[in-house]
């Protein structure tokens, strides 16, 4: 079943006289429970595509349907509400809120959802346990290592049980050991919690952990060497 449908999406930037078009009629279908990695040269438009799917950037043309909602049609406020309910975002640098503890950082997305305090406590507990940081709940980001911070970031991204989790180079600023830890964790999130993941990476090893590997080249998307066509065309 298609959870994410990216249909003929283009993104243009005006830079002086020149028009940069990192995405040009890109199509992508992601099914529920898939772990999709996205590679490509620097500046090829990976982050752009990821941010469009995450609903924090606007397409120039095309549609993005996620769990039946065309998010390109939502107003800015509605889009924020939609993100709260449907997207978990893992940043390259964790982007934790420094004045909040690990627990409070993880709780942050739940504050946006209709949920009792007891339910929130329960969910935060589960998310922290999933990233094995139960004993660090009361620590502030500055009291944790980079790897631990990133794990809190992952807990924060999965705590609201989002429709899709996006990760932009989640291991980009970690050492090899920690990278290994994080990748294993992401795999577990995908396999054990059944979450759908879209991960941008530069690292072939990291990409190989995913169930599908995509490449962005010359503004177009390829899987196993073939350009992805709209779903309708493929099934035909």
């Amino acid at each position: 079943m298609a959870l994410v449908e990216v249909i003929a999406v283009s993104k243009e930037y005006q830079s002086g006289e020149e028009i940069i078009r990192p995405l040009d009629g890109v199509n992508l279908t992601i099914g529920e429970g898939e772990f999709v990695s996205l590679m490509g040269a620097s500046g090829s438009g990976k982050s752009t595509l990821l941010n469009l799917v995450a609903g924090i950037d606007q397409v120039t043309s095309g549609r993005i349907e996620i769990a039946g909602t065309d998010i390109t049609q939502l107003s800015r406020g509605k889009l924020a509400d939609w993100r709260a309910a449907h997207v978990g975002y893992i940043f390259q640098t964790h982007n934790l809120i420094p004045v909040l503890t690990a627990y409070e950082n993880v709780e942050l997305p739940l504050m946006l959802l209709p949920m009792s305090a007891a339910e929130r406590r329960n969910r935060v507990g589960i998310a922290l346990a999933a990233v094995d940081l139960t004993n660090r709940a009361d620590h502030y980001p500055r009291q944790m290592s980079g790897g631990q911070e990133q794990r809190v970031g992952i807990a924060r991204a999965i705590v609201a049980n989002p429709t899709i989790v996006v990760a932009d180079e989640p291991t980009g600023s970690l050492d090899d050991n920690t990278t290994e830890q994080i990748l294993t964790l992401l795999q577990r999130v995908n396999r054990e919690l059944g979450m759908t993941l879209l991960m941008v990476t530069h690292d072939t090893d990291a990409a190989s952990r995913a169930t599908r590997q995509l490449r962005l080249e010359r503004s177009e998307l390829y899987e196993n060497g073939t350009r992805l066509a709209p779903r309708a065309l493929r099934t035909a």
């Binding site: 752009t48 995450a54 924090i56 924020a80 982007n95 809120i97 409070e104």
Partner: protein, 388 residues
């Protein structure tokens, strides 16, 4: 709208991120609010001293020729008797008519054998004076006997003396004579509080005058008060004029209108400068947090929630400043005496002053937070999220 706001703690803890900057801003805002409090206290004190003085049922009768300046007025000594006989409706109790003959003038007063002197206001009165001027209350000592004076609780300020210099038992010199302070009176902030009261007969003897400056009469009703005016108009030969006490002081208030206007202008200017203190801090707080604020938006917080948390931070600071300022104001400023040409009055830190100060603080917080917040949110989330 449920739970769409950032946790309260987030705003509070952000204030402790740069404790010294927050403390400095708190100090700056406290000073601003304190200044507002002082100026409002000044205006309020001035207004109160004139307003508390007036009573609509009390008529002041004085000479037409004096214009509106009672100090220059001279009315014949028989006027009080004439008034009580001719006008119905004069208040009376136990057979005493509430008619107060008074001799009122400005004069040079000195203490300690002329080592310290000041320009004071003296009022020669009889025992009916406190009946007519009902706000007057003796707070210390006794009503003056011959050669004695009763001083108001602000008289020392008006003269520029220490409070102790006019304590009961001290002496005061004016019009070539030494007087002993027999008591101190208060008058609920009224202008009399900076006067010196002495027995009318004594003052007349000292000045070699038989006449009066004015006669104050308390009437039973407002209609009766109007009759006093009528009497003065009818008896042209007496050349008298009647003004209600309220009217008299309302007239004086008009003279101070420019001062009050100036006061409000100062309040606005001071508050305006306070905005910059708030702005400066909030710019600092926001600039270093562009990425964090974008992260919150990426998580799903609306821009409104972020705006509110920034306003919360700024208003917490400015309200803290207001709290400090009001505490200082009540402790050190409230009741400070101010000398003024027509007397002295006290700075008043009252509910109105505090309300104005707190409103100023809240406005400072909100206005100080808006431009930096707007700056933070102008940047698209995708760009802000990469900011350092």
């Amino acid at each position: 709208m449920f739970r769409r706001l950032l946790p309260w703690d987030y705003g509070v803890r952000n204030l402790f991120r740069r404790p010294s900057r927050s403390a400095l801003t708190l100090g700056g805002l406290s000073i601003v609010v304190l200044l507002v409090l002082v100026v409002v206290g000044f205006i309020r004190g001035l207004e109160a001293s004139l307003a508390a003085t007036g009573n609509a049922n009390v008529m002041l009768v004085y000479a037409i020729s004096s214009g509106s300046d009672i100090e220059n007025s001279a009315v014949p000594g028989r006027t009080p008797a004439l008034l009580s006989a001719s006008v119905a409706g004069v208040r009376q109790r136990h057979g005493v008519k509430y008619v107060s003959p008074e001799l009122y003038l400005g004069t040079r007063m000195s203490i300690a054998d002329g080592q310290q002197e000041g320009l004071g206001l003296v009022r020669g009165v009889t025992t009916t004076a406190p009946l007519v001027r009902q706000q007057v209350q003796i707070v210390e000592g006794n009503w003056p006997g011959p050669g004695e004076v009763l001083v108001g609780r602000l008289t020392h300020s008006k003269l520029g003396f220490e409070r102790e210099a006019l304590a009961v038992g001290q002496s005061l010199e004016f019009d070539g004579r030494k007087w002993t302070v027999s008591g101190v009176f208060a008058a609920g902030g009224a202008a009399y509080e900076s006067e010196v009261w002495c027995p009318l007969a004594d003052l007349q003897t000292t000045l070699k005058r038989q006449d009066l400056s004015l006669v104050a009469v308390a009437m039973e009703t407002l209609d009766a008060a109007a009759d006093v005016d009528l009497f003065c108009r009818e008896r042209i030969d007496l050349e008298l004029k009647a003004v209600s006490e309220v009217g008299y002081y309302a007239d004086l208030q008009k003279h101070y209108k420019p001062v009050r206007m100036l006061g409000w202008v100062v309040v606005c200017l001071v508050a305006g400068s306070g905005v910059f203190a708030g702005l400066n801090t909030m710019y600092g707080a926001v600039v270093g947090r562009i990425r964090e604020l974008a992260t919150l938006q990426a998580i799903g917080y609306r821009r409104r929630a972020i705006l509110l948390t920034l306003i919360q931070e700024a208003t917490l600071l400015s309200c803290g400043g207001a709290l400090v300022a009001c505490a200082l104001g009540l402790l050190f400023i409230n009741g400070t005496a101010i000398r003024f040409t027509m007397g002295a009055f006290m700075l008043r830190v009252d509910s109105v002053g505090i309300a104005i100060a707190c409103t100023t603080a809240i406005v400072l917080g909100v206005v100080g937070a808006l431009p930096p917040a707007a700056k933070a949110m102008r940047l698209p989330v995708v760009e802000a999220i990469k900011a350092i």
